[in-house]
């Protein structure tokens, strides 16, 4: 998932196409609905994007912590092995 697209990219083409469509319906309730929808979906995707980032950071930090612990534990046993 390291190369997962940022979720903002999911809406890259949706935004101009929907804005263009809404612009073709001045005065219509559908125009307003499309604008609100776009804004709320954008918000949803931004939050989703932040979750992806947080998960990626948590995985990276977990891997680092496991590696550090593993090295520290190995060092303990190397020391315990002597010479005495």
């Amino acid at each position: 998932m390291a190369n997962a697209p940022p979720t903002g990219a999911l809406m890259r083409d949706v935004v101009p196409a929907t804005e263009h469509a809404a612009g073709g319906l001045p005065g219509w309730l559908t125009q307003r609905a499309l604008q609100v929808l776009l804004q709320k979906q954008g918000d949803d995707m931004s939050r989703l994007s932040r979750r992806f980032t947080a998960i990626a950071e948590a995985l990276q930090a977990t891997a680092d912590a496991y590696r550090r612990n593993e090295n520290a534990n190995a060092a303990l046993f190397r020391r315990a092995d002597g010479p005495w």
């Binding site: 998932m1 997962a4 697209p5 979720t7 999911l10 809406m11 083409d13 949706v14 196409a17 929907t18 263009h20 469509a21 612009g23 073709g24 319906l25 001045p26 005065g27 219509w28 309730l29 559908t30 307003r32 609905a33 499309l34 609100v36 929808l37 709320k40 979906q41 918000d43 949803d44 931004s46 939050r47 989703l48 932040r50 979750r51 992806f52 998960i55 948590a58 995985l59 977990t62």
Partner: protein, 530 residues
């Protein structure tokens, strides 16, 4: 309220490109979900990572997976609503343009409110009778055009309001996270969309319809409308025999999530549903050949469930149903899946050239009797036509996939009575082999009444299984007896419920039958097909 000018000057065709982009976004979300499963959840779940942090992480990944799945479906359905709006808005606008064309041809003028002005000047009837007639006609035309324009503007306003209301429903339920009620909200959104388009639940084939009719209805829908029906009425769509297994699975899983949300909201028990859901989801991370497909779910009373281990539409060898016996309910689904899985794996191992060419269905598709009511016939009478339709449905779905499959039905205990009854009625069951184990009787005098060559009827009985001895009092002669005319396969397991013990000869014999290796079945008596 749309005005005349707003309708005249609108550019609704632009909605088409917007709908295309929302659909593309839905496809991207679906691909992202696949990547989350294949590149994140599956490898980590199979890595051996365990402990509290792993548990929390896996739950987080599962929620992410669910959220992407739901977002993909919602976005797809939203695109369908936008496309519908485009079609309808364009239609009204074209009708308006046709009226305006007629106004122009008559040399009349229309004002900014959409009112067509009568011709100016006055023509005397006595001086110019023909001109007067023409003048009178134009006045009438102007009135008629105004009425038509008013009607079209009203129609546009109505459509605009309806479309806007449905579009607003598709707002994210709880932005950035998966909240309880999210699945039910999606179902509500899809129902609104269907209503907007004039499609209702009544269009769905009634319960018990022939699988061919179900499939014809499904195939006649556009992909967009299938997605809407699936989300709007998942329980109804998931129950339709003959539909593709993947789509039945998607529908039933959504229905199950709706049930869990509803019961949670009412503080009701959800354990048997969540246990099954967890198992279904976990199978996504395992081998493809062992993937689970939820083909039926009903949480009422004892509950019903139908789960295929492996894809039944593409399997070359299909164990149509491991029909369970008495007291089995939805609570026992895990055990039934284990049995089906053991039979599937054993059979798949017998055909090592093609991995994953066997699927076996755990069919708890009928209300099973209890211990006291087990001599009763009513349960089997009700279940037999249901089983028959289910089996027909697997055939319809396989044929649609172009799969040539060898189908076998497996009945255990009281389930074998259901199988016997179903096979003996009408044109029988659409299977190539019938296996029964621990049968109390199949409700027929002998194997010739099962609408199948008796050499393809197989019965097994453990030497200490009491049911085939006491059952025939109510359900007819036991099929393991020589007089019945079926092949008796050798059983090396003990008691009434152990016929599917992994590694046993009892199980291996059934697996040989399932894959058509008849000459390798060890028999106590009988004459196997060549």
């Amino acid at each position: 309220m749309v005005t005349f000018l707003e309708l005249r000057d609108a550019q609704p065709t632009r909605l088409g490109a917007a709908a295309d982009e929302w659909l593309r976004m839905a496809e991207k979300l679906a691909r992202l979900e696949t990547r989350v499963v294949n590149e994140l959840t599956k490898p980590l779940r199979n890595s051996g990572w365990a402990g509290e942090s792993a548990d929390i992480a896996f739950r987080s990944f599962d929620r992410l997976d669910d959220e992407l799945e739901l977002a993909a479906r919602q976005t797809r359905n939203l695109a369908t609503v936008i496309r519908f709006a485009r079609t309808e808005f364009v239609k009204v606008q074209e009708q308006l343009r046709a009226v305006l064309g007629a106004v122009r041809r008559d040399g009349l003028q229309v004002d900014d409110r959409g009112a067509v002005q009568p011709p100016s000047g006055y023509v005397s009837e006595s001086l110019d009778p023909i001109g007067y007639q023409r003048y009178r006609q134009l006045i009438a035309n102007a009135r008629a055009y105004t009425d038509q324009i008013t009607t079209l503007v009203r129609r546009a306003s109505q459509l605009d309001g309806d479309c806007a209301r449905v579009l607003m429903r598709f707002e994210p339920y709880s932005p950035g996270r998966m909240a309880s009620g999210e699945w039910r909200d999606a179902t509500g959104d899809a129902r609104s969309a269907l209503n907007l388009m004039g499609m209702t639940e009544r269009n769905i084939p009634a319960a018990g319809s022939a699988p061919q009719a179900n499939r014809a209805w499904w195939d006649g829908l556009s992909e967009e409308h299938r997605s809407l029906y699936l989300a709007a009425h998942p329980d109804r769509v998931g129950a339709l025999d003959g539909l593709p297994a993947q789509q039945r699975h998607d529908a039933n899983q959504m229905a199950m999530r709706n049930l869990i949300e509803m019961r949670s909201a009412a503080d009701g028990p959800t354990e048997r549903l969540t246990t099954l859901l967890d198992r279904l989801e976990a199978s996504e991370y395992g081998p493809q050949a062992q993937r689970l497909y939820l083909l039926g779910i009903d949480n009422r009373l004892d509950g019903l469930g139908v789960v295929s281990v492996g894809n039944p539409d593409t399997a070359r060898h299909l164990g149509v149903a491991v029909v369970p016996g008495i007291t089995v309910t939805l609570d026992d689904m895990n055990g039934q899946i284990d049995r089906a899985g053991a039979l599937r794996q054993t059979a798949d191992d017998l055909t090592p050239d093609v991995e994953g060419d066997v699927a076996v269905v755990a069919w708890v598709g009928y209300d099973t009797p209890g211990v006291v009511t087990s001599p009763a016939h009513g349960y089997a009478d009700t279940a037999a036509p249901v089983l028959d339709r289910f089996v027909d449905g697997t055939q319809v779905a396989q044929e649609a996939e172009g799969t040539q499959s060898h189908r076998t039905v497996v009945g255990h205990s009281y389930g074998s009575s259901v199988v016997g009854l179903a096979a003996s009625q009408g044109n029988g069951l659409a299977v190539h082999d019938i296996i029964v184990a621990g049968s109390p009787g199949m409700r027929v005098p002998d194997a010739t009444h099962l609408n199948i060559d008796p050499r393809h009827v197989w019965a097994g009985r453990a030497s200490d299984d009491p049911i085939p001895v006491i059952g025939p009092i109510s359900h007819g002669p036991a099929p393991h007896t020589e007089a019945f005319g079926a092949n008796r396969f050798h059983v090396d397991t003990s008691g009434h419920v152990d016929y599917w013990r992994p590694g046993s000869e009892s199980l291996r014999n059934q697996a040989h039958i399932l894959v058509g290796q008849y000459d390798r079945v060890t028999l106590d008596h009988g004459r196997p097909p060549r």
